[in-house]
Symmetry: C2
Subunit: 288 residues, 2 copies
């Protein structure tokens, strides 16, 4: 049931994303944007569309917001993979943009995908201008110098720090690096509907942390082939993670608790929020 | 008169920009953002504020839009200066961000300044949500894969092209690289007021081209000390420019014609548009 809905979202997002990018003038830049924005779990898009659905909005009405978060996420991966950042050769099972093209293209592709994300937030189909501008604001706050990019900067600083990060430091870092965008995605439906965001914010807070703990577990236990990216990086770099602090069993137990918290936070939405509950369970069960 | 008003704009923009950046959590990232966003001619901000003024809006009412264009411009410079792009050590008379910090910081600073630009477009003081979302749309179109970043990608492709660019190619490249944002800046006031943009669009089209021709002339005739950046780059790289196509005298004559066109396009606004006319004249008279 959940897998089918996720597949449906993946297919719809893929088609709409490629169509949005195809609207730009033909260039190597456009080809590389299409390449970088393809694939992925589309979990963030799923959260946008399902949070919209529980507020009575169809996939079609919320699709540009789902594409916006995926374009934003794709930009962050392209820049994060660059030699001066994480220096990764593989992403989603394919060569990274700077490997397939070059670093200049990677810079520009990331820049243009970020711009596309904000352009998509302005799409009239998303409804009231007041809600669309609220979406712009939330996406900017979640992804900028107090959100995702802030988390990335902390992450880079941690690599050259004299002492490993404490658990609190890691939670702060991850709240920015991955948590802020997951939080945006889960609240997008409420923003578009002009509804109370508090239950979805609570859901997202627990979900984002569970997601990152699961990522740390995957970095230790996962298969590179299935994940489509380099693993074991944190241990190789001697980096403090949830696993290094809590142990594997402790990390798994904490992630399960957080999923239970996330599921409980959705109580106000009744049975219609089941796909969001499934998404929370998926986050710690996934193998990529 | 014009110089005084430009100085007033520069001072107001500098203070407001530093205040906007100071609102982010303390970090090296924030310090580097503040560094990258300081200084500059603030010509784009001037165009925003003056186009707003002829529509009855005060500087205070339009300031976030002026900051947005300057943050966007600053992001493009930080990324453009990186080793994989133009590889410049000096900008506005100071070491570039990747020289003062490192390349990772330059990537993140550029990313965060772009995000800040869109966040600023959402500021309530700018007025109607419908106008603010239109501003977001115009900024995204002007700066993304059909605008500024498209122009930058064409510029990079030209560096490895077998034959030098034709004059038409250069005009197309520059319409993206610098023209699209100047066009946004000059139309911002009309967008915020929900007014007809056509006269300002005509003004901006001529102005943007004049600006770029003047840049090419400056690259040949200017002083590095005054400009605060490396000059003579195009000739060194054997790159086709307006000057290489038209000659110095021909380029100056064409720029002067374009300024006259820009000035004429402002006729509907009467004497209140005199600062915008002065700005057009300034664009070809400037020494940096």
């Amino acid at each position: 049931m959940f897998e089918e809905r996720l597949k449906e979202v993946q297919d719809a997002v893929e088609a709409a994303m490629q169509a949005a990018i195809a609207a730009f003038p033909q260039s190597d830049l456009r080809d590389a944007m299409a390449y970088a924005a393809q694939g992925g779990k589309r979990l963030r898009a799923f959260l946008v569309l399902e949070s919209a659905r529980i507020h009575g909005l169809t996939d079609a009405q919320a699709m540009p917001a789902a594409l916006a978060i995926e374009a934003l996420h794709a930009y962050s991966l392209v820049h994060d993979d660059m030699p001066c950042m994480d220096n990764d050769d593989l992403r989603r099972g394919l060569p990274t943009v700077h490997r397939k093209w070059d670093e200049a293209t990677a810079v520009l592709v990331g820049d243009a995908l970020q711009t596309l994300a904000f352009e998509l937030c302005a799409e009239p189909v998303l409804g009231d201008a007041a809600h669309r501008i609220e979406l712009v604001k939330a996406l900017a706050v979640g992804s900028g110098a107090a959100g995702m990019v802030y988390g990335q900067a902390l992450d880079i600083a941690a690599e050259t720090a004299a002492t490993p990060l404490s658990l609190d430091d890691i939670i702060k870092l991850q709240a920015g690096k991955t948590g802020a965008l997951i939080s945006f995605a889960a609240q997008a439906g409420a923003i578009l509907a002009g509804a109370d965001r508090a239950p979805l914010a609570a859901y997202a807070k627990a979900l984002g942390l569970a997601f990152q703990i699961a990522d740390d577990i995957l970095d230790v236990e996962g298969s590179e082939e299935t994940a489509g990216k380099r693993l074991g990086k944190d241990a190789d770099a001697g980096k403090a993670t949830f696993v290094s602090h809590l142990g594997l069993a402790g990390a798994k137990a904490r992630a399960a608790e957080l999923v239970a918290e996330a599921v409980a936070a959705l109580e106000p939405y009744g049975p219609g929020a089941e796909p969001l509950r499934d998404a929370a369970r998926f986050v710690i069960a996934r193998d990529k």
